[in-house]
């Protein structure tokens, strides 16, 4: 074990973790925004996000023979996933959550679980009628190549990454760029527009916001639309990242992203991003623990294999909820009688 082999390895793990973390961050935003306005864990968000992934798969599949630019295909995939997932999320809110707005807190939570299960099977049946279960993304060839393979083809940051030995594919770079773009847009919408102001007002106090003339139902729908659209984006990105998924594979990243939202402080938008990135790095670290164990020469570390990486997120979740339920950036609120 020497520093020269260990350091690039760790850098790669952290970069890989950040790439994964950006996907989690965007999924987590969907949870955190809904929680912000309704104090409801939208269990169905993991399926909204898988819907986005399925839409992305379909777009890439249908456009695969088409010779158009790969980035245009990506744009079409992202936009259609945003529209469909966003619309689906609004529909779910209208049908399953709004009638229960005044019911005890656990009732909409249970319907959320129900909606999530229904969507899983509906997606499975839709794809099943075409004889598919596992969906493998057919990405344009340009996405799969190594980023900055040759020195001449890259400049600035890319060159720097190459010199320190970071191993990235083009699709990872796309993922980061798309994620950063959507975070910027979201930040602008929430903090700089009238719509964002209204949403924040509803999240703070629905009653008073109503008195100020804000249509809180509309704002809640808008929140679900935005959250769903983010879910659609993250679905396509996740699909690109993992390559193969099925109708049931939303549960795990959904739970990890929820953990990220809780870690950052649920209801807080910067918190969700921070939590997502942290969880991504943690998960990556746990999943390479056996490789690291071999590198360092520790037998105990080497027995921790990839299957524990899922557990890593759960354990983080349990520890946060026990020791700091408000998360890293969340505000504590005492219960009112």
């Amino acid at each position: 074990m020497d520093l020269a082999t260990l350091l690039p390895f760790l850098v790669n793990v952290i970069v890989g973790g950040l790439v994964l973390g950006f996907v989690y961050a965007i999924i987590a935003l969907g949870y955190t925004m809904v929680y912000g306005v309704l104090q409801l864990i939208n269990f169905a968000h993991s399926e909204v996000f898988v819907t986005g992934a399925v839409v992305g798969f379909e777009v890439f599949r249908i456009l695969a023979p088409n010779p158009m630019n790969g980035y245009l295909k990506l744009l079409i995939a992202l936009v259609s996933a945003m529209l469909i997932s966003g619309g689906l999320n609004v529909l779910i809110e209208r049908l399953a959550y709004r009638p229960l707005r005044n019911a005890p807190k656990l009732v909409p939570l249970i319907t959320a679980i129900g909606v999530s299960l229904i969507l899983q099977d509906v997606l499975r049946v839709i794809e099943g009628f075409q004889g598919r279960f596992d969906l493998t993304y057919t990405l344009p060839d340009a996405f799969g190549v190594k980023f900055c393979a040759a020195e001449s083809s890259c400049v600035g940051v890319g060159n720097f990454l190459r010199t320190i030995g970071v191993d990235l594919q083009v699709k990872d770079v796309i993922l980061i760029v798309v994620a950063l773009l959507s975070l910027t847009v979201l930040n602008y919408v929430v903090n700089r527009t009238r719509l964002g102001k209204a949403i924040r007002a509803v999240a703070q106090d629905r009653v008073t916001a109503g008195l100020m003339g804000i249509d809180s139902n509309l704002m809640i729908s808008a929140t679900f639309l935005i959250g769903g659209a983010l879910g659609g984006i993250s679905g396509v990105l996740y699909g690109m990242k993992v390559g193969t998924l099925n109708a049931y594979s939303g549960f795990e990243p959904g739970l990890v992203a929820f953990t990220a939202a809780v870690l950052g402080g649920i209801g807080s938008i910067p918190g969700a991003v921070l939590g997502g990135l942290l969880i991504g790095v943690i998960q990556k670290l746990v999943s390479v623990m056996s490789v690291l164990g071999d590198l360092v020469g520790s037998k105990n570390l080497a027995t921790i294999d990839d299957s524990y990486s899922k557990m890593g997120a759960f354990v983080v979740l349990v520890l946060i909820l026990i020791f700091k339920p408000t998360g890293l950036l969340g505000k504590s609120n005492t219960e009112k009688v």
């Binding site: 005044n102 019911a103 807190k105 229904i118 099977d121 009653v207 739970l255 026990i322």
Partner: protein, 542 residues
């Protein structure tokens, strides 16, 4: 099974006496069940229809409806007792003699009834949404599974070969750690009831739980190393007469795990509790998947022994059962008894001080605390009681299946049990048993039946097999019940009275008593009656 009406409290005239109808229904469905499982009839001209899986499922459902009607209908007590006991103890085993899968199904239904009854205490009475409930089922199953199978000897063999630095002193240290940390954890919890928890106290608590874990590991390791010489004698696991001891041990193990999981998480509320229990349930499953030495990982443990009861076997042989059915019949009777006991415990608990405390916590935690209900202790008892039911059933499940693997205990099972509780009606014991029966029938008979029936239809690909639509079924149950009839199919009488009370009086306090899980307690909460125009200003963001 459609004509299910909750008893209306202020009905003008009492329900008509249905003794004759009940007896008639019993006779007809029993005849149907028995003849549809009779070889002679099956070979006759009606055989084709009777073998149809959908028809078969229908017959079984109709027959089980007997028990439901015996409970629901107003009839002479002797008739109700006759139908209830006759169906469960006479007709069902008789039909099961011809068709073993019927016994299997009945045991499965009972197991899930017990699970639903256990979860009902946690969710329905105490209002704590537990999405990792199946973890306790797993604890019970693995408690028996590891000891009553060849796993035990391979564990001992492993430790015999790799003793490490373990000796009798390790055992002492482990036990010491166990006792000290457990005692200090309980002490700290007691204190936190009286004084507000500080950062220091929660860190101390975390430290203690790590100590506890270390203690458990050391103790188990020491025992395994010290007992390694017995490996050869235990090649197929421990003697099956230990079954009865393990029945008690599995209850204890599950209850202890319930307390261990409950201690740190029960200070959380509602949705956070749901998600953390979900996480812990998954952690237990992942552990079962990864601790290859103890659980054989995803391969699962097999074969697992069942109890050896010679006198029962000779009785079963006398009654004309074949040898491979003995253990199923035995488990059937055992499960019947256990469910009976659990039901009795439930009813007694519900009417006791602790049951009222649970309901008080469910309806308003703060108010309950103000009235002197010790929150943590009461919730822990709910958790442990629910867990113990799951533990004992887990053990019976392991004995019945003779094979367990982590896949039997995934999140999906927890949600299945939850949908049973929701379908039948949270807080209602007959309701959750009905829910368990309906969902299990759907799961094990009707959906596979549909799957078989549609298997040869060309336009339905293999990927859309209706036999695998369990998720859809669970989802539809959860959503529709919550939206349309949140009190469930067979609601708790107390709930109905509360509902009725609110209908008669203008209840302006309804907004204030938003409890944890008081479904359908008032106009505002009953979505069926919710004003069509959403009132934005009534639901405080709380």
């Amino acid at each position: 099974m459609t004509a299910i009406n909750p008893t209306q409290p202020n009905r003008a005239k009492p329900a008509p006496d249905r003794t004759i109808l009940l007896i008639l229904f019993f006779v007809v469905t029993s005849a149907l069940l028995l003849s549809s499982h009779n070889q002679a009839v099956l070979n006759g001209s009606l055989g084709g229809l009777l073998r149809n899986p959908i028809f078969e499922a229908l017959v079984v459902s109709l027959f089980l409806a007997n028990v439901l009607f015996a409970y629901l209908w107003r009839a002479a007590p002797w008739a109700r007792a006759l139908v209830g006991i006759g169906s469960l103890l006479l007709v069902l085993p008789m039909a099961g003699r011809e068709d073993t899968s019927l016994l299997d199904l009945s045991i499965q239904i009972m197991i899930f009834s017990a699970l639903a009854l256990g979860l009902n205490i946690v969710v329905g009475l105490a209002g704590l949404l537990d999405l990792g409930y199946v973890a306790f089922f797993a604890v019970g199953a693995y408690t028996w599974g590891i000891f009553a199978s060849p796993r035990l000897s391979s564990i001992l063999k492993y430790y015999g070969e790799n003793p490490g630095a373990t000796n009798a002193a390790t055992l002492a240290i482990g036990l010491f750690l166990l006792v000290v940390t457990a005692a200090s954890m309980i002490y700290m919890r007691r204190m936190s009831d009286k004084t507000a928890p500080t950062r220091l106290s929660s860190w101390a608590f975390g430290l203690a739980s790590f100590g506890l874990l270390a203690g458990i590991i050391l103790t188990v390791r020491a025992i395994a190393v010290l007992g390694a010489s017995n490996a050869a004698g235990l090649a197929t696991g421990i003697d099956s007469n230990f079954f009865w001891l393990f029945l008690a041990l599995s209850i204890m193990a599950a209850a202890i795990v319930g307390v261990l999981i409950g201690l740190p998480v029960l200070k959380l509320k509602g949705d956070y509790l749901a998600i953390i229990t979900l996480g812990l349930g998954e952690v237990i499953r992942v552990l079962a998947n990864n601790l290859d030495l103890y659980t054989a990982g995803s391969q699962g443990i097999t074969p697992i022994k069942s109890a050896a009861v010679p006198w029962f076997n000779s009785l079963a042989g006398f009654l004309g059962f074949s040898e491979d059915q003995y253990y199923l019949l035995f488990l059937y009777v055992l499960v019947l008894v256990v469910v009976g006991v659990i039901l009795l415990v439930n009813v007694r608990l519900d009417r006791s001080r602790i049951g009222r405390a649970w309901i008080a916590i469910r309806d308003d935690e703060v108010a309950a605390q103000a009235m002197g209900v010790p929150l943590v202790q009461t919730k822990l008892i709910a958790f442990a009681t629910g867990a113990s039911f799951a533990g004992v059933m887990g053990m019976i499940f392991a004995a019945k299946q003779t094979f367990i693997s982590p896949e039997s205990f995934n999140l999906f099972q927890s949600i299945g049990v939850l949908s049973m509780v929701i379908l039948g009606g949270m807080g209602s014991f007959p309701g959750v048993i009905l829910g368990a029966t309906v969902v299990t029938l759907l799961n094990l008979r009707i959906l596979p039946g549909l799957g078989e029936a549609t298997a040869n239809i060309p336009w339905i690909p293999q990927q859309v097999n209706p036999g695998q639509l369990q998720r859809l079924v669970f989802g539809v149950i959860l959503v529709t019940i919550m939206l349309l009839r949140p009190e469930g199919l067979l609601p708790n009488k107390r709930r109905v009275l509360e509902l009725h009370h609110d209908e008669n009086q203008e209840d302006d306090s309804a907004e204030g008593n938003a409890g944890a899980l008081g479904t359908g307690t008032g106009d505002v909460y009953s979505p069926g009656k919710a004003p069509t125009k959403e009132n934005d200003r009534s639901g405080g963001a709380k």
